[in-house]
């Protein structure tokens, strides 16, 4: 990936909007999700979960449960006898089955497998757990105090200064220049503190799996995940088995957004199956999803920005304190790296903190850590624009990072698209449209890194000239359509002649998780190169048929043809014709490509929102919303627009209503969608996506990942719109009606 891959070309398939290959299955109910699989003799597995936020497990008596008719297996931590090599996997084991302590409300302490759900439920009630309830802490600022209840001893990293609680696991400082000197040059300084609540990814499909462990030590696992290779590797490490003896097949996935980049039920189901000698199916209830699968971090953030009266930033400072639940996660550092990334800063200090609390372990939620940081930084930018009476876009353009800017996280930017998104927003009719009574307009920018990673693709030319493509990443955002289109484009055949499937872990080599906005970039790159590999073979077969040298053959519009008059005069041989004689010319034809596709380009977005505030109730209505983001090249624009719209909608929920509410006893009070309020269609206006296409030099077609950046600006965009509509600066999310009403009254 060192050299540039991009070559300008005219596309025939890429950029069009063909029907999605999974559409019919999904609208007719034929698609099989995690809970849709069954097996002969299958048992039902259920988890027993801690009712306490923090408790020492003094004893677990499973004897009564084990004696019940229909109960085939009971497991506790004592059954997991393998200690994984790395700390991250040991944390996952501790998370899926508590060890000495239950660390949050909903932490699994035991599990059963029985012949029916009712028997399994009765068995859970028969398990006797003796707890010693311990003091708990769920607030990030409280957890950092030296006298806070401690979750783990001896896990603090060397980067944490003395004097903090052992709950503070890591500190990461980024920046450059001299902030004191920078603030001295400022004509105006705004300094604010912010908080954001923990929110859940809100995927529709709960976690589910079907596990089968045979007496021969071989296992099969069907599950709903963003990365079945990750599931295989993690489960085999936890169960102490060879990865090659566990085959994992990914189901269709009803949303993930980062929350399915780890395992919860899968190792437990495998252990139950191993013990029972039968297949075990496990499905989380919504209550379990919210209590025990990864929400995002809640945060406490301080931001200080100094500016000249002309609107040029002289210095910026941020403290990003993120609670990661009961185990280490690196969200605070990512917040510290991303928050100021849109700006060209001479003097910056940005510090991220990772703090554990008695909450479920934080999981990624699209661009993990970035939306909260952007909320805080972009809120202060908006306040500065207001103070200086400057247009918020002009203020940002004055300070926007561009090619050659030293980024907030260290490296110098190559060509980037931030200014393009700001210019597009400035030129869009939304920015100059009149506002109504009690309405306000907000704007914010956001940044995310984007990744690549290990990727394998196999492409088979079938005897009838159709093409079968295998990739190893669950299709979350339309990857089957995108890969089909890129293969068709490269081969020069119709979209309908290619079918893409998601292969199981025994079929392809290692594939990184579907995360980091990586799939259309990395799997797309591998798809194009697998197609080129197959084309080379087909050119060789045509050359042999014609009796000329392979390098005298070129591939044009889906056919081999002589490269010039000196190569001889032969009619073009289409892919279909070459496929038909493959057995005669050397055997089946296939292309493949395996790569660690690193060096993906970073991504920026700018959002505009209009909100209307009801001053009597504090309710907020989103009136208009527009997203501007660089996609490099939008392979299937429908899916790109969907990603931008989806990110905005999730951000609207995060900004306005969603929050984990804990009682004084540290238990979650709103573990269901009646009380945990995600936006529904009737809450929303049409989200208008504006796709910019600035080619990514690291991809043959210029593709850039789009899955995560869309959730970075909305929190700040909404906060700025609501603050302008209500006439009071909102510094705490969510801006729920009671909170907003109180702020309006206090002002």
């Amino acid at each position: 990936m060192a050299k540039d891959e991009f070559t300008p070309r005219t596309f025939k398939v890429v950029g069009t909007r063909p029907p999605r290959p999974d559409g019919l299955d999904k609208v007719t109910g034929r698609a099989r999700y995690g809970a849709d699989m069954s097996a002969p003799g299958m048992l039902i597995g259920l988890c027993l979960r801690s009712p306490h936020a923090h408790a020492r497990i003094k004893s677990i008596d499973t004897s009564a449960a084990e004696a019940m008719k229909g109960v085939k297996a009971v497991v506790t931590r004592a059954d997991f006898t393998t200690t994984p090599e790395d700390q991250g996997t040991r944390d996952i084991l501790d998370n899926v089955m508590a060890g000495e302590k239950a660390l949050y409300d909903g932490h699994t302490v035991a599990a059963v497998a029985a012949t029916s759900r009712s028997v399994a439920r009765a068995a859970l009630k028969a398990i006797k757990v003796e707890y010693e309830v311990l003091p708990h802490v769920v607030d990030v600022d409280e957890a950092m105090k030296p006298d806070a209840p401690v979750l783990h001893e001896g896990r603090q990293q060397e980067s944490v200064p003395k004097g903090y609680s052992q709950n503070v696991l890591a500190r990461s400082q980024y920046g450059h220049g001299d902030i004191e000197a920078g603030f001295k040059k400022a004509d105006i300084i705004v300094e604010r503190s912010f908080t954001t609540a923990a929110t859940h990814q809100g995927y529709i499909e709960p976690h589910a799996c079907l596990a089968t462990m045979g007496n021969d030590g071989q296992g099969d696992l069907w599950c709903c995940t963003q990365g079945h290779y990750m599931v295989r590797n993690t489960c085999s490490a936890i169960l102490g088995m060879d990865a090659g003896r566990l085959k994992v097949t990914a189901s269709e996935i009803g949303g993930g957004f980062g929350g399915k980049t780890t395992v919860f039920l899968e190792p437990v189901a495998l252990m139950l199956s191993k013990k029972a000698g039968k297949p075990v199916k496990m499905t989380m209830s919504r209550d379990e999803v919210l209590r025990a699968s990864g929400p995002t971090a809640s945060t406490s953030i301080d931001i200080k920005i100094g500016m000249t009266k002309e609107g040029k930033i002289t210095a910026a400072q941020g403290e990003f304190r993120y609670q990661s639940g009961a185990f280490y996660a690196m969200n605070g550092a990512l917040g510290a790296m991303c928050g100021f990334a849109p700006y060209d800063l001479e003097n910056l200090q940005s510090v991220g903190w990772e703090v554990v609390t008695n909450r479920p372990k934080a999981a990624a939620y699209r661009a993990p850590g970035a939306p909260m940081a952007a909320f805080a930084v972009e809120s202060v930018m908006d306040e500065l624009a207001k103070e200086l009476d400057m247009d918020p876009i002009e203020l940002r353009l004055k300070n926007a990072a561009e090619e050659g800017t030293k980024s907030a996280y260290g490296p110098t930017y190559p060509a980037i698209g931030l200014k393009a998104t700001l210019e597009a927003a400035k030129a869009h009719p939304h920015w100059s449209a009149p506002l109504g009574k009690n309405q306000g307009r907000g704007l914010a920018c956001g940044f995310w890194f984007n990744f690549g990673g290990d990727t394998c693709v196999s492409l088979m030319i079938n005897p009838d000239g159709t093409v079968s493509l295998s990739e190893g990443n669950p299709d979350i955002g339309g990857s089957r359509a995108a890969m089909t289109m890129m293969a068709a484009e490269e081969l020069g055949i119709p979209y309908e002649h290619v079918r893409t499937v998601i292969a199981d872990t025994a079929t392809l080599g290692q594939n990184e998780v579907t995360d980091g906005s990586r799939v259309t970039f990395a799997v797309g790159l591998a798809t194009i190169k697998a197609a080129r590999h197959a084309i080379e073979i087909m050119k060789t077969r045509a050359a042999a048929t014609w009796g000329i040298e392979p390098d005298a053959v070129e591939w044009v519009d889906g056919a081999a043809q002589p490269a010039g008059p000196n190569a001889g005069k032969f009619p073009p041989m289409t892919l279909k014709e070459i496929a038909a004689i493959a057995s005669n010319t050397g055997g089946p034809i296939a292309g493949h490509h395996e790569v660690n596709a690193e060096g993906a380009g970073v991504s920026f977005g700018t959002h505009i929102a209009d909100t209307e505030v009801d001053p009597e109730t504090g309710a907020v209505k989103v009136v208009r919303y527009t997203v501007f983001q660089d996609a490099g090249k939008a392979v299937h624009p429908d899916y790109v627009e969907g990603q931008l719209q989806g990110g905005a909608v999730q951000g609207i929920g995060w900004a306005l209503n969603e929050e984990y509410i804990y009682g004084k006893d540290g238990t979650l009070q709103n573990a269901g969608y009646l009380d945990y309020r995600i936006p529904v269609a009737s809450d929303l206006p049409m989200i208008e996506p504006v796709i910019l296409e600035i080619p990514n030099p690291g991809h043959p077609y210029g593709v850039r990942g789009v899955g995560e950046t869309g959730i970075v600006p909305p929190l700040a965009t909404l906060a700025n719109a609501v603050s302008r509509a209500a006439g009071v600066r909102m510094t705490s999310l969510p801006m729920s009606p009671p909170k907003l009403l109180a702020a309006i009254k206090a002002s």
Binding site: S172, Q173, F257, A364, R366, W448, N596
Partner: protein, 81 residues
């Protein structure tokens, strides 16, 4: 020699130096040299780092070339959702 920029809190472990020099022609040699020349960085190197080389971010590609003129910046190991 290649100049490597450390993030602030990592620099504290390297005697406060934000920029350090090591002998390396690729990513693997860079990580090996950092581990050897700056043992205080070892815990973080074992936990994992990402490396930006001329503005592009790499996690694992050992043989990614690095030249004396390359801009090399160490980062917390990045992950996505």
């Amino acid at each position: 020699m290649v100049t490597v920029t450390l993030w602030g809190s990592l620099a504290d472990l390297a005697g406060g130096q934000r920029n350090i020099e090591v002998e390396a022609k690729n990513l693997r040699e860079l990580l090996t040299a950092l581990d050897k020349d700056y043992p205080a960085l070892r815990p973080q190197l074992e936990r994992g780092v990402s490396v930006s080389i001329d503005g592009k971010i790499y996690n694992d590609s050992w043989f990614q070339p690095i030249t004396e003129s390359s801009e090399v910046v160490l980062l917390n190991r990045l992950e996505g959702g």
